[in-house]
């Protein structure tokens, strides 16, 4: 996701990550993953609830489909999951929000392997940016 940061900037949009636990955890995460994006810390998971994200069942966390997809992704990206921090069953997701407060696009994870690809989020951001831009002429 951090690799797409410049493309988000070029599209005229912001990109912010929110994770569970503390600012110190967030700082450690940025250093370890070499991420330059801002990372917010939501220890109480207040924003997760307001975003409509869900808590997974065991099958949605470690079911065969989820494990297979996670293994394939790790092989593809070279990234693997380290020790889980925060609520282990809390799922995440993405919202694209325009300046008038409208949620222009959303994809909330249905299981632990369900993450929107950066290209998909970027396409949604470009559409939102175009819609938010004032008409010329």
């Amino acid at each position: 996701m951090d690799r797409a940061r410049k493309e988000f900037e070029a599209a005229g949009a912001g990109l912010v990550l929110i994770g569970q636990l503390t600012p110190r955890d967030a700082a450690h995460f940025r250093r370890r993953r070499e991420i330059q994006l801002p990372v917010l810390a939501d220890e109480k998971r207040e924003s997760y609830k307001a975003a409509g994200a869900k808590v997974a069942t065991v099958t949605e966390l470690i079911g065969p489909k989820v494990v297979a997809k996670g293994t394939a992704l790790a092989a593809q990206t070279g990234l693997s999951q380290s020790r889980t921090r925060g609520h282990p069953a809390q799922l995440g997701g993405t919202l694209v929000i325009t300046p008038d407060g409208t949620v222009a696009w959303s994809r909330l994870s249905q299981d632990a392997s369900d993450n929107a690809p950066p290209e998909e989020i970027l396409a949604a951001v470009r559409e939102a940016t175009a819609a938010a831009a004032p008409e010329v002429g």
Partner: protein
């Protein structure tokens, strides 16, 4: 087990971000950030991570 839900839940993405706007969270440097300020001037993609793994 793992704090998992006993029944499959549904996600509920909001149509508007009003409930998110006044939430204030610390960033990685400890600065307090009001979420609504993030989209005040331009669209923003907020990505909620499952964990910091």
């Amino acid at each position: 087990m793992l704090g998992a839900a006993t029944r499959r839940q549904q996600t509920h993405p909001p149509a508007r971000a009003d409930a998110l706007a006044d939430i204030v969270l610390p960033d990685h440097e400890g600065n307090q950030v009001r979420l609504g300020d993030l989209w005040q001037e331009r669209p923003v993609a907020l990505v909620w991570l499952r964990h910091y793994g």
